[in-house]
Symmetry: C2
Subunit: 226 residues, 2 copies
């Protein structure tokens, strides 16, 4: 069965205060995106990686590829104005309706092989796998009439790779864009598909600030020590 990892890397690095977009910043001496791509290539032999980059960043890609001993099968696609559009551009590469498609944030380099494989297995069986983790802090909901406590046991933090059987996913992405499309699960639901959660991993974090890079180095050392 054909598998695709659509890795979406749209960040400009503005919150980082750096000229280099965050997905190319070095983590343990290699760009963040190197780890993200390698996670999928190692976990799923034969996977096709579709890397969606802002047009002006496509030339940065050699910074990533030079770190691979064996260059992976990689297709680079220009991103769009929104995440929805970027993912849709990536999905243009997918033809087989029975393929499994992972849609993953480029700035989540610590996704484990176990999580990738669990997502693949569940998406094969049920059509989708949306990784999530429970909430350990108290939470509040801010509505129009002020804020109130919300039961954290009923909340889940959603991660990626959001994983789907290709057929229904391609159909969902043929819809017109809506503001409520914050992730692929919400796109899928809007087209009538059901989405199924799966246990994610607390350390599958997004790197979005310089401090996250420091924390990322710690996670990298932790993972390497295992």
């Amino acid at each position: 069965m054909k598998t695709y990892a659509v890795i979406v890397a749209g960040g400009q690095g503005t919150r980082m205060g750096t000229a280099i977009p965050k997905q190319f910043l070095p983590l343990g001496g290699r760009p963040v995106l190197y780890y993200t791509i390698k996670a999928f290539v190692d976990a799923v032999p034969g996977i096709t990686v579709v890397l969606v980059l802002p047009e002006e960043q496509i030339s940065y890609n050699n910074m990533v590829l030079q770190h691979f001993e064996e260059i992976p099968e990689l297709i680079i696609v220009a991103g769009g104005a929104s995440r929805y559009e970027s993912v849709r551009n990536g999905l243009d590469i997918v033809e087989e309706e029975d393929a499994i498609v992972f849609v993953h944030d480029g700035v989540r380099p610590f996704v484990s092989a176990a999580l990738i494989r669990n997502c693949m297995d569940q998406a094969r069986e049920k059509g989708s796998a949306i990784p999530c983790v429970t909430v350990t802090d108290s939470m509040r909901f801010c509505g129009e009439d002020g804020h109130k406590a919300i039961d954290r046991d009923k909340l889940r933090i959603i991660q990626t790779p959001q994983t789907f059987l290709a057929g229904p996913l391609l159909k969902a992405f043929a819809q017109e864009y809506r503001e409520s499309f914050t992730d692929e699960a919400s796109v899928m639901e809007q087209s009538g598909g059901e989405v199924f959660l799966i246990a994610g991993d607390k350390y599958n974090i997004k790197i979005t600030t310089p401090e996250d890079l420091c924390i990322g180095e710690a996670i990298l050392n932790m993972t390497a020590a295992k």
Copy 2:
């Protein structure tokens, strides 16, 4: 004006898989609680620290105190069966109605002096300050009829120190315990008090797993480098 930091350290270390409770585990060679206590002592000169510990852990306290060059003013109180009860036991020490009381998790050692002082200023002015941060991941709400996307822009992650003017706080803690009391803000609201949010700090994390300790070391180095 009198100030109190009620630091609640109830953990047993079971999730840590260690015999030593998590609040006493070493971070950069010193117990987690050392940093937590020091943060308040350094930020608010003259503060009284009320450390609430499970009865069987009170003897561990020398592990913490030996790291201080100057021993802070510290009152140790035995905890109760719930967080509510533990905080109430700590509040027994507070007598002045116009004092400012910080209630803080023992396992949040990275609370900054700026956050502590901002909380103090707001609690003086408005009666309360509940630190919170915005949510950067997609979120879902799991109800009885399945799960659905929830607008993350309307959610806040609540941290500590939850900070209050003593009078209304003591009155709120004179109520009978309810299951809905998940934090001090919820206790306060139940007694008719309004609570006011304030911007928290993303790195004011809780240390609850061995991996958090690794991340904690990174945050510690980051903070030391500033």
